[in-house]
Amino acid sequence: MIKVENLCVNYGGIEAVKDISFEVPEGEIVTLIGANGAGKSTTLRTITGLVKARSGSIKYMGEEILGKDTVSIVSKGITLVPEGRRIFPDLTVLENLKVGAYLRKDSLEEDIEWVYSLFPRLQERHWQLGGTLSGGEQQMLAVGRALMSRPKIMMMDEPSLGLAPLVVKDIFDIIKEINKRGVTILLIEQNANMALHTADQGYVMETGRITLSGTGKELLENSAVKEAYLGK
């Protein structure tokens, strides 16, 4: 569905992403794991057009999207759940969801119902300001907001960041649930254990390069991954 080839991204003189290639097949959960500064977020931000690439190619269903602006990329059905959630703190929960559906002109009722059924907590709090929610609820809102655009592929940047382990488990269960509904998922995580258990495919990124790839299971059993990310 998304095919990244020989992608290079620079911030000034610093090479954040060095010639990476990977693929996200339709209907699967793919994860990019790696430590801080490995270039994971930069990769996602480049796919959404928020960061300009130096060279390479990003194809979405066979169409080149590198160099297009964010609005046209998002309108093709690619959505980003940004790092640190970035919900709109002074908008109500319901308004947050409606902003997520900004590019749609049809009725939202059905999708709001769906998001509420995934996250009943959001329905209880639909009149509250987003900033008054707890961290876990804000993450739910960020996921719900992304779903409102009816994405074909949802890219998530560290959904487990700063959340309690129990909440993280819930979030990953819901990611699987969303995937079952036909949404392809590209997941970026530092929580390698959780991510690899959930993902069909995994890639390991280190200092701007992809050093390992395989199915989630394979990577979980890989000794290098075990040593670096999972603890022996």
Partner: protein, 379 residues
């Protein structure tokens, strides 16, 4: 909408009092209309008081215009004085009678096409607003690429440029002599109804997808862009609507004060409007209206200070400008202790008013107990 209001998850108080607060609002607004009617016929208030009420309306619209850009879209713009100047001059040139225009321009003769401009007040007002909106559109292209303080400086600069243009386009604007004999058309009805229309427009706008996008850009522009919201288009839309409203308020201002000069539209005017917005609460529509009324009335009421006054044994001699000093101190207190303004980003509601009134006795109690505790701790 009706589906939302029936939701079982809303706090009980908001639902219970909905009908009651609506009735209360209608009663108060009707009473205000009767009051305006009596006042306008000269039965209760003199022309001085009426003028203050009209100025309240003018400043309320100017504040709403700035609140749209600053409070709702989060773009720190200080260009409102320039757009008001454009609105004021364009409207005035359309409504001053031709004979008086000819007599006024004695430094340089008036441009013939300006002399022939004539339109009814409402048309002149809207043309004034549209010209200001056009100016906002043109200025928006370069400045809306900036953010924060830089945007404020750039818009302030453009506003001064507009003022200098007006000062130097003597055949059109009569230069620094300004325009006089502007017909006194904008009575209390004009200003009040204009405020009402703008308030309803803003309340509606904030419920549309445009309004939500403005607020989303204010809260987090990167996240908003990731949702597919075009930042530039929305900032521009907000800036142009803001320009239009500022133009309208400028046109009304010209008619209320009767004579305008470029000096009137210096950057200090933008600061005054900014103060209203901050006092009322950034992102609060009703806050801007209440803030405009408080500030306009307070500025007039504090006039007694210029004549000298005494507090107990202390006698202050008459000093011109004393009221502005006190005024500034009051404002500093507000900015220091009530940074979110009177309303924060909420709107006025009767339930809110009731809560505030109910909390006053407790607040006083707490003030005293804290003092007692502090004293107890000291001994």
């Amino acid at each position: 909408m009706s589906k939302e209001s029936k939701s079982p998850y809303l706090p009980a108080t908001t639902q219970k009092h909905k009908g009651l607060s609506r009735t209360l609002s209608i009663v108060v607004l009707a009473a205000f209309a009767v009051f305006l009617y009596m006042a306008n016929s000269g039965k209760i208030l003199g022309s001085y008081e009426l003028r203050i009420i009209r100025l309240c309306g003018v400043y309320a619209i100017a504040a709403l215009s700035m609140n749209l850009v600053n409070g709702f879209t989060g773009q720190f713009s200080l260009g409102q004085a320039g757009f008001m100047a454009i609105g004021a001059y364009v409207t005035s040139l359309f409504i001053i009678p031709t004979a008086q225009k000819t007599a006024m321009y004695y430094v340089e003769p008036i441009a013939p096409w300006v002399e022939s401009l004539q339109a009814p007040f409402i048309v002149a007002l809207i043309i004034g607003g549209l010209v200001a909106a056009l100016a906002a559109f043109l200025i928006g292209f370069p400045v809306l690429r900036l953010r924060g303080d830089y945007l404020a400086i750039a818009t302030l600069g453009f506003s001064e440029i507009i003022r200098i243009f007006i000062t130097n386009m003597i055949p059109i604007t009569n230069g620094s002599l300004g325009l006089k004999n502007i017909p006194d058309t904008a009575n209390v009805w004009w200003t009040t109804i204009a405020v009402a229309i703008v308030v309803i427009f803003m309340l509606r706008l904030m419920k549309t997808s445009y309004g939500r996008s403005f607020k989303a850009i204010r809260d987090d522009d990167v996240a908003a862009e990731a949702m597919g919201i075009s930042l530039f288009r929305h900032k521009m839309l907000s800036f142009v609507i803001g320009g239009f409203l500022a133009g309208i308020s400028g046109g009304l201002l010209a008619s209320v004060v009767g004579a305008i000069t470029p000096i009137y539209f210096r950057f200090t005017l933008a600061y005054e409007i900014l103060l209203i917005v901050v006092l009322g609460g950034q992102g609060s529509i009703t806050g801007s209206v209440v803030g405009a009324c408080i500030l306009t009335v307070a500025r007039e009421w504090l006039r007694f200070m210029d004549n000298g006054f005494s507090i107990g044994p202390l006698t202050v001699p008459p000093i011109a400008g004393m009221r502005m000093l006190v005024f500034s101190i009051l404002l500093m207190i507000i900015i220091l202790f009530y940074r979110r303004g009177l309303f924060g980003s909420n709107e006025f509601s009767w339930a809110g008013l009731l809560r505030v009134i109910k909390s006053i006795p407790q607040g006083i109690k707490r003030l005293f107990t804290r003092k007692a505790k502090a004293e107890g701790g000291g001994s």
